[in-house]
């Protein structure tokens, strides 16, 4: 049996998925990155290797997410792609009629506009991470509610409290204020969900035409409160795919399949990378005034890659 592996290493979660030649998802994993992408990838690979059918051959590997380069060097990727393309490829496979993808992850949020199965426009949050998963996590912790209960609390609200959504600093002080004047927790949480949705629609999705079918994915899609706030604000049905939190990885697997279509041998180093001692070191190049931050990647004692330089001197060193 043959399959393709997709790896999506984001700021908060590390996701893996394996598809077969027909594009069926055989297995997938969702793990927290905990600030250590190398370990997270190894751990996820270890877990996924136990689920794979016996004698499974990995014919291609794709990586995506903000640590796509690191993951790609580590496992030997055949294709390294940005997360926007990966998400769009994954989603359109399951939803050929999708015309809008709302994606909210740990630290970034995107909107992808699709027409006739092709990406025609997209936007990504810039410097501000207001309304992404990390902020919700932080607020759940502050309120002492497990994050997976957050959405349920919101749905129980009868009348939501008005919370400012422009900025997390204001949102938080608003929430504290509402809690001190006696609003109940459910209403505050529902208000927060609405504020995040407003913020998303006014910033990330500004000027974009949100047409149905609308697919909502990324880690935050697990939150029913946000889903219902989106539906309320847009007046349209929002679909959450079964694989909402690993869609990037699935897309990367499809990209790997596309890449290997013409034949050729995969660069995948095999599941042995689980046991390799991989490490990175960053150093500042002093050769010119740009002072680029170079990342040195080594397996065992051997340096296998450099990146981060603008002139290419380090990258081409090996």
């Amino acid at each position: 049996m043959k399959g393709y592996l997709g790896i999506d290493v984001g700021s908060v979660s590390t996701n893996l998925a394996v598809i077969d030649e027909e594009g069926t998802v055989l297995c997938h994993r969702y793990l927290l990155t905990h600030g250590q992408p190398i370990r997270a990838v190894q751990e996820a690979l270890r877990e996924i290797s136990t689920y794979l059918p016996k004698g499974m051959e990995i014919r291609g590997v794709g990586t995506t997410g903000s640590a796509r380069q690191l993951a790609g060097v580590m496992v030997g990727a055949d294709v390294v792609k940005n997360e926007i393309t990966a998400h769009a490829i994954g989603t359109t496979h399951f939803f050929p009629h999708a015309r809008t993808i709302l994606e909210i992850g740990g630290q970034d949020s995107k909107i992808i506009i699709i027409r006739d199965g092709l990406v025609v426009d997209f936007a990504m949050n810039t410097v501000c991470a207001a309304g992404t998963g990390s902020f919700l996590d932080q607020q759940a912790l502050r309120l002492g509610i497990p994050i997976d209960q957050f959405g349920r609390y919101a749905l129980r609200s009868k009348s939501s409290a008005r919370i400012a959504g422009r900025c997390t600093v204001f949102a938080e002080s608003d929430m504290v204020h509402k809690q001190q004047i006696g609003c109940n927790l459910e209403d505050i949480i529902a208000g927060l969900c609405e504020a995040l949705v407003r913020n998303y629609l006014n910033n990330v999705a500004k000027g974009k035409e949100i047409l149905e079918s609308i697919i909502f994915q990324g880690g935050v899609a697990a939150n029913e409160g946000i889903q219902s706030a989106f539906e309320g604000e847009l007046g349209k049905k929002i679909y959450i795919p079964k694989f909402f939190n690993v869609m990037g990885a699935i897309g990367a697997a499809f990209l790997a399949q596309e890449q290997m279509d013409g034949g050729g041998k995969t660069h995948f180093k095999g599941f042995e990378v689980i046991n390799l001692h991989c490490k990175t070191r960053s150093l500042e190049c002093k050769e010119c005034e740009n002072e680029c931050e170079i990342v040195e990647f080594s397996i065992g004692e051997e340096v296998t890659a450099y990146w981060g330089d603008r002139c290419g001197k380090w990258e081409n060193k090996l």
């Binding site: 903000s66 792609k81 940005n82 997360e83 926007i84 393309t85 092709l118 990406v119 025609v120 426009d121 997209f122 990504m124 810039t126 410097v127 000027g207 010119c288 005034e289 740009n290 002072e291 603008r310």
Partner: protein
């Protein structure tokens, strides 16, 4: 006698006028000192003196001034109010000499000719004559220097229109001191994609701000179209249909170029490099966006500011090129089958 040293900061209007300014001063016998290419450090030095609220390219010029102030007898920082018959530059550009003079101590004297192309007396030629007079050159000497400078400038503009990369041209000019006829880049490389890149020249061509955008586009096998490639008449033609003329001279060029690239279907995608807190960009960018939507062309605005990280920039650029490429090949396929 040691020749007089005139310092030109490598920022803002440098990317538009350097061949002219440089030739003018050299023909007068002065030595031209240009600050080093932009780096993070140059910018950070600029932060110390620049006002908090100004845009990042203005902050950058402060760093460049600092880089050369102790190596020159004069700093050359013209005050450009208008470079065509109808519009204005932004107030930052018009007040630039004062902004620098009163924010930085111990500067050498600043040569700050007032340039306003709307009136006969304040055109560039006249403004530079006044600079010449101030430096004690006679009328004939400055006239001759200006006409040499103009020659080089015309050649600069002609070659940009021919599609030679602006950065290659300026670099070659800096090395040789003049333009030579040797070809710099293949005129019409047959890239797999054609990408339009618009924006203020000082944002597009600054080595720190553009994150090697042009290099990345070339690596992606794209040929590049910038506003400099488009003739003034074409720009005028496209803007004539607007209800009123665009007020800002630099914005006018960007908008006209964008309209041309989009409507004549020259490019497979358009990128606008904007700058946070730029008033002109905030007006022009939406206009470009609306037109791109109408023409159903892939379009992206990339914004630069002090916090711009390379990660987000590269992700956006890659995704944009994927979008443009997939759409292009899809429509090529459709054309072939129909």
């Amino acid at each position: 006698m040691m020749s007089m040293r005139v310092g030109i900061p490598r920022a803002l209007l440098y990317y538009r006028y350097f061949p002219l300014w440089n030739t003018f001063f050299r023909e007068l016998g002065a030595q031209v000192v240009v600050s080093r290419p932009s780096t993070r450090k140059v910018l950070e030095e600029g932060f110390k003196f620049a006002d908090d609220d100004v845009c990042i390219p203005i902050k950058m010029i402060f760093g460049h001034v600092l880089n050369i102030e102790d190596k020159v007898d004069y700093l050359f920082i013209p005050r450009l109010l208008s470079d065509n018959k109808t519009g204005y530059c932004c107030p930052m550009m018009a007040g630039l000499p004062e902004m620098i003079k009163y924010s930085m101590p111990h500067l050498p004297p600043i040569l700050d000719p007032f340039v306003d192309e709307r009136y006969r007396g304040t055109r560039l030629s006249g403004a530079l004559s006044k600079v010449g007079r101030k430096l004690k050159y006679n009328f004939l000497q400055t006239r001759r220097a200006y006409s040499k400078a103009r020659e080089q400038f015309d050649q600069f503009q002609r070659r940009m229109r021919d599609g030679v990369s602006v950065l290659d041209l300026i670099n070659a000019f800096e090395t040789n001191g003049c333009f030579t006829d040797e070809p710099l880049t293949e005129k019409e490389e047959d890239g797999s994609m054609k990408i339009g890149v618009i924006g203020h020249p000082y944002n597009l061509y600054d080595t720190l701000f553009n994150f090697d955008l042009f290099k990345r586009l070339k690596e992606a096998n794209a040929s590049i179209y910038t506003p400099e490639r488009i003739h003034g008449h074409t720009i005028d033609h496209h803007l004539r249909r607007l209800k009123k003329d665009i007020y800002w001279t630099l914005g006018r060029e960007i908008l006209g170029a964008a309209f041309h690239l989009l409507e004549s279907r020259v490019v497979d995608g358009l990128i606008y490099v904007t700058c946070f807190s730029c008033g002109i960009d905030s007006m022009i960018e939406p206009l470009v966006g609306f037109r791109a939507k109408r023409e159903a062309s892939p379009y992206m605005a990339l914004m630069i500011d002090e916090h711009t990280g390379i990660g987000g920039f590269v992700t956006r650029l890659e995704a944009f090129l994927d979008t443009a490429r997939r759409r292009k090949f899809n429509s090529d396929d459709e054309r072939r089958t129909s």
